[in-house]
C-alpha cells in the first residue's frame, strides 16, 4: 500500500499543536526540510525532543514552535554554543528536561521496546538525577544494589530521514544510525523522508539494511536534500560552513535570525525551491565521490 504523500501533507496530517516531536539523527540525516515545513505551517507548543537539538531545533525555537525541549547535549556540534536555545533557557522562557546521551537514548529504547522503565548502571554523578525527577533508583532484585532507571520516551511523532525507502515505508539507512530505529518504534506516528523512493525489489534485495519496516510507518515523503545543512552519507556532505554561519547569524540577534527564516524557510515553497536557491556552487561543494561497498550474496533458495 502506497503511503507516499507530499511533505506539506505529511506534516499537516500528522503533526499537531502540543505534540511531542522527535526529529531523529545524530549529526547525520537530520530532517531539516521537515522542521522547516513545521515552521511554515506554524505549529505551536511543541515539545521538541532530540539528544542533540542541533541547528534545526534552534531554528524551530526561534520561530516560536516550541514550549519545551528534551535533550542531552545542547551545542552547535563542532562550532560551539546553540545560542537561541541557550538564551531562551537562561532567560527562563523555554522549559527543559535534561539527560545524558545514554539516559536519553535509554528512554527511547524503553519506548521502542514497550518497557515500563529501563535500568542503567550508576555513574557516581548525581546532580542531574537531583535536577530531573524522571531519574529514579530501584533495587536490583538479583544483586541488591541500586540501579538508575528512566521511563520510556514515546513521542507523538517521529520524523526520520533515510537514504532510500519504498512507497510502503520500508526504509534503509547506512552510515551513522544514531537513534533512528528507536525513534521509529517509540513514536505513535512515523514520517519517513527519503532521498530516493525505490522499487520494493531494491529494498528486498538487501533486507539486512532495512532499519525501519514499512508497517510501522504512517507517511513516506520523497525529499531530496532533506538533511542540508546536515548530511546524507554517500549523497552529500555536511555543510560545515553553514554550521559556522549559523553561529554568526544567531549571535547577531533576533533580526538576523528573522531575516534568515524569512528568506530560507518562509520565503521558499518547499525543499526543491530551497535546493535550487542554494545554487550550483554550494551543491558542488557538498558533492561526494562514490565509494561502493562490496556486494553481498544472499543466495537463491
Amino acid at each position: 500500500m502506497s503511503k507516499l504523500v507530499s511533505l506539506n501533507e505529511a506534516i499537516s496530517r500528522h503533526v499537531r499543536d502540543g505534540d511531542c516531536l522527535y526529529c531523529a539523527g545524530f549529526t547525520h540525516l537530520i530532517p531539516f526540510a521537515a522542521g522547516h515545513e513545521i515552521i511554515r505551517q506554524r505549529r505551536r507548543d511543541l515539545t521538541l525532543a532530540r539528544a542533540t537539538p542541533d541547528l534545526l531545533y534552534d531554528q524551530m525555537v526561534a520561530a516560536g514552535c516550541a514550549r519545551k525541549l528534551i535533550f542531552s547535549y545542547m551545542g552547535n556540534p563542532g562550532v560551539g554554543s546553540l545560542r537561541i536555545v541557550r538564551s531562551e533557557i537562561e532567560s527562563g522562557r523555554l522549559e527543559w528536561e535534561e539527560y545524558s546521551h545514554f539516559s536519553m537514548i535509554s528512554r527511547l529504547q524503553a519506548g521502542a521496546a514497550g518497557l515500563p522503565f529501563i535500568p542503567m548502571n550508576q555513574t557516581g554523578a548525581t546532580d542531574l538525577e537531583r535536577a530531573n525527577p524522571n531519574f529514579r533508583r530501584v533495587v536490583d532484585p538479583y544483586s541488591g544494589c541500586e540501579v538508575i532507571v528512566v521511563p520510556p520516551l514515546k513521542p507523538d511523532v517521529g520524523i526520520i530521514h533515510v537514504q532510500r525507502a519504498d512507497a510502503s515505508g520500508n526504509a534503509q539507512i547506512w552510515g551513522i544510525i544514531g537513534e533512528q530505529k528507536e525513534v521509529a518504534f517509540a513514536s505513535e506516528r512515523v514520517i519517513i523522508t527519503a532521498e530516493e523512493i525505490v522499487d520494493e525489489e531494491v529494498i528486498r534485495s538487501d533486507p539486512n539494511r532495512t532499519l525501519i519496516p514499512g508497517f510501522i510507518v504512517d507517511a513516506v515523503v520523497h525529499v531530496p536534500y532533506c538533511a542540508h545543512p546536515s548530511y546524507t552519507q554517500g549523497y552529500y556532505d555536511r555543510d560545515n560552513a553553514f554550521y559556522m554561519e549559523w553561529d554568526k547569524i544567531s549571535a547577531a540577534g533576533p533580526e538576523a535570525v528573522k531575516a534568515y527564516l524569512d528568506e530560507w524557510v518562509y520565503g521558499v515553497k518547499d525543499r526543491e525551491e530551497y535546493r535550487q536557491k542554494l545554487g550550483p556552487q554550494v551543491l558542488s561543494r557538498l558533492q561526494v565521490k562514490p565509494r561502493l561497498a562490496a556486494p553481498v550474496n544472499y543466495g537463491e533458495y
Binding site: 542531552s72 547535549y73 545542547m74 556540534p77 537562561e90 557516581g124 546532580d127 542531574l128 560545515n240
Partner: protein, 247 residues
C-alpha cells in the same frame, strides 16, 4: 629552538598517554588530534571508537563534528547509539576516554552543564552528552584543558561527570589532566596534584592558575618537548589548515 602552541603541547602530551592496542572513545577537536597522532606514531593498533557509533574509524580528513561522514567510510563497524553506550561503554570495552569541560575541580569532577545555579544558570553550557558515562565507565580517563584559574575551581558548580567526588572513598576518577603548563594526577585521596611540568613552565605559574592550594608531587617530572616528527604529523597531516591548532 622549535616553537609550538599550547594546543600542540596538550595534544602531544595526551597522545603519549595512549598505549598501543588501547580502545579509545574519541571526541572531536583536540582529543581527535591526540588519538590520530598516537596512531601515526607509537600506537598503530589504537582502536578509535566515536560516540556517534563508529568503531575502528580511520578518518581520511579532519572530522569537524562528532558525526562526520569521514568517520564511517572505511571504519570496521557502525552501530546505534544505544549499542555504543551499552555494548561498548557500559560493558567495559573501552580502555580510554577523553574529556573536557568548563570547570574541573580539586577532585577531578567535571562541570559541562551550568555556571551558577542549575535552575537559573548564569551561563548555560551544552550539558553532558556522553561525558557522564565516559567518565564513569572508560577504564582510564584523561582530561585536556588550558590551565586557567576559572577552569580549576576548588569545587565545581555542577557535577556533570564524576571524578573522585569529595575525595572520601570514591575509587575512580581521571588518571591525568593535561594542561598547557603540565600534568595533574590524583594522589591517594583523589586530589589532583602537579606531577609534571612542560618545558619552560614553572610551579609558580601552575599554582597561580589553579583555584585551590595546588600540591606538588614529591617527584616532579618534566615532559619531553614536542619532537619535530610529532609537530610535523600534527601540522602537515592532521590539521593542515590549522582549524584546531590555531596556528
Amino acid at each position: 629552538m622549535t616553537t609550538y602552541t599550547s594546543s600542540e603541547l596538550m595534544i602531544i602530551n595526551s597522545a603519549r598517554l595512549l598505549r598501543d592496542g588501547d580502545s579509545v572513545f574519541v571526541g572531536v577537536g583536540l582529543p581527535n588530534l591526540a588519538c590520530n597522532l598516537a596512531r601515526r606514531t607509537h600506537a598503530p593498533n589504537l582502536l578509535m571508537i566515536y560516540e556517534a557509533g563508529v568503531i575502528g574509524a580511520r578518518p581520511a580528513r579532519l572530522p569537524l563534528s562528532i558525526g562526520d561522514p569521514t568517520l564511517v567510510t572505511g571504519a570496521a563497524s557502525v552501530c546505534s547509539m544505544y549499542d555504543i553506550f551499552t555494548l561498548y561503554l557500559q560493558r567495559g570495552n573501552v580502555d580510554v576516554g577523553f574529556l573536557g569541560g568548563a570547570q574541573i575541580d580539586r577532585y577531578g569532577n567535571i562541570n559541562a552543564t551550568a555556571i551558577g545555579s542549575y535552575d537559573h544558570p548564569k551561563v548555560r553550557l551544552p550539558g553532558s552528552g556522553g561525558s557522564q558515562e565516559i567518565a564513569a565507565w572508560a577504564n582510564r580517563c584523561y582530561i585536556m584543558t588550558p590551565h586557567q584559574k576559572r577552569r580549576f575551581p576548588e569545587k565545581v558548580d555542577f557535577v556533570t561527570s564524576a571524578g573522585f567526588l569529595d575525595g572520601k572513598g570514591r575509587r575512580s576518577g581521571p588518571q591525568a589532566v593535561v594542561t598547557d603548563l603540565g600534568i595533574l594526577s590524583p594522589d591517594e585521596t583523589g586530589e589532583l596534584v602537579l606531577t609534571a611540568l612542560h618545558p619552560g613552565a614553572t610551579v609558580e605559574q601552575a599554582r597561580a592558575n589553579t583555584g585551590w592550594q595546588l600540591k606538588i608531587a614529591e617527584h616532579l617530572d618534566f615532559t619531553e618537548p614536542p619532537s619535530a616528527e610529532e609537530l610535523r604529523i600534527l601540522r602537515t597531516e592532521l590539521d593542515p589548515t590549522g582549524i584546531y591548532l590555531h596556528r
